[in-house]
Symmetry: C2
C-alpha cells in the first residue's frame, strides 16, 4: 500500500468496500464507519459511497490492487455522471500496485517488454471481444497478463485463452501463475503454456504468458529488454 | 511509494540509481553510500550494484514507477545470470506504481478495460516490432498506453503511432497526456487523437489512447467497464 492510500484511509470517516478487501485492512480503519457488501455488489457499494459523500462525509472506496484497473474508479465516476453529481463531488483517485506488476515482481521480470492486460471475465464483455484481443496480443508477440482467468462458474475461458496462445506461441513459452500476490497466502508457480492447466487457477489468480524471448532461469521468468550484455 | 519500498531503501547500505531518481528520494537516503549515473548508463549501474552486493553490502537499486515495467529488474537478473551469480545472490523485486496506472488515476479511469502497454523507444527494439504491436492493439480496440513516446532525438515515433491509431480509431477518441505523473511538476492534458500533437510530449510523458467506448466527461477520461447503470 502506498503512503498516499494510507493517508486517504486515515483521513476518511466512512470506508466502503468489498468485504474480503475490508478484512485485509481492518487494523487500519478501526473506529470508522464501514459499509461492506459481497462480490458483484459493486453498484450497490458505489451508490452507498455517493450517498455518504452527499451527506457530507469524507468517504474512501477501497479496491484491491489499483482502483483504475478493472476496479471501482470508473464505476464511481460513471455513477456520479449518471446522477449529475460529477461536477459537484470532489473525487480523488489514488493509484495502487495492480496485480500485473505485483505478480510480475514475484516471478522475476516478465514485463520488461510490451504487454497486454486482458480480463477473461465475460460477465460484462462479450467473449468475441475478449477472443479478438487474445488473438491480436498473441499474434503480435505481446507478453499477456490475464486477469480474472477463472472462477467456480467460469472454467472454459482459460482453456480457450491457452489454445489461442498456443496457436501463436511455442508450448515452451514461460507462464507464471500467482495467486494472492504479495498477501499472506500467496502461491507462485512457474510453468509453460504446455503445462499451465495442471496448476490451480481461480479468480484470485493472475496469469502471465511470456513473449518469444521470455526465458525461465533459476526460478525466475525473465523477458529481456534487449540490452547486449 | 509503497511501505515495502521505503523499508527496502532504509535497510540498504548502498543505493544505486539514475541521478534524476536519486534526487527525488534524497531526503530518505541520507548517510547512505550512493552510486548514481546518467541516463542510458543502465548496464554500468547494474554492474556496480552487483559488485557492491558481492562485497557484502545490502544494495537497493532504484527505478522510477515499477522496476519490472521497462525498469531495472530484468537487467539485474540478466546480468547476474551472465555472471553466473544468479543462484548465489539473493534478489528481491519490490513492485511499484507504474506510470500507466499513476497517469490513469490523474486522468480519471481510462484503464477500466483491456489495455496494451507499448514503448515507442526503438533504441533496443526494431521499429517493425513496435509498429506491429501498435497495429494489433489499435485494431483489437485495446486502450493503448504509450511509454517513452518521444525524446529530443526521437520525434517521429509518436506521429507514426498516432497515424496507426487514427486508421483504426475515431479522431475523437480521447487521449490523456500526463507528464511527471504524481510528481511536483506534473502536467495533465486531456485531448483526442485529432489534437494530441498540439501538446508537449517527451520522455517523461505517458500517453493513453482510449478504446471505442472511452468518453470525456467533466475533465475526466472514462472507459466504461460495461455495467448497466
Amino acid at each position: 500500500m502506498s503512503a498516499r492510500a494510507l493517508e486517504a484511509l486515515q483521513s476518511a470517516d466512512v470506508i466502503v468496500g468489498y468485504k474480503t478487501y475490508i478484512d485485509l485492512i481492518k487494523d487500519l480503519i478501526q473506529d470508522r464507519k464501514v459499509i461492506s457488501t459481497g462480490m458483484t455488489r459493486e453498484k450497490e457499494r458505489c451508490a452507498a459511497a455517493i450517498e455518504q459523500a452527499a451527506a457530507g462525509h469524507r468517504v474512501a472506496v477501497v479496491s484491491s490492487g489499483d482502483p483504475g484497473v478493472y476496479g471501482m474508479a470508473g464505476l464511481i465516476l460513471e455513477m456520479l455522471e449518471a446522477r449529475d453529481q460529477l461536477k459537484t463531488t470532489p473525487v480523488k483517485i489514488i493509484p495502487g500496485i495492480t496485480s500485473a506488476t505485483a505478480s510480475a515482481a514475484r516471478l522475476g521480470a516478465p514485463l520488461m517488454h510490451d504487454f497486454a492486460v486482458i480480463s477473461l471475465s465475460d460477465l460484462l464483455t462479450p467473449w468475441e471481444t475478449i477472443e479478438k484481443r487474445l488473438v491480436a496480443a498473441a499474434r503480435a508477440d505481446f507478453v499477456i497478463v490475464l486477469y480474472n482467468p477463472a472462477s467456480k462458474k467460469r472454467d472454459w475461458q482459460i482453456k480457450k485463452a491457452r489454445e489461442i496462445c498456443l496457436y501463436y506461441k511455442a508450448p515452451t513459452t514461460p507462464v507464471g501463475i500467482v495467486k494472492n500476490a504479495a498477501r499472506e497466502d500467496e502461491e507462485i508457480y512457474i510453468t509453460d503454456l504446455s503445462g499451465m492447466l495442471d496448476y490451480p487457477i481461480d479468480m484470485l489468480t493472475t496469469v502471465i504468458v511470456g513473449n518469444r524471448s521470455t526465458r525461465r532461469v533459476e526460478g525466475f521468468i525473465i523477458t529481456p529488454r534487449g540490452y547486449v550484455l
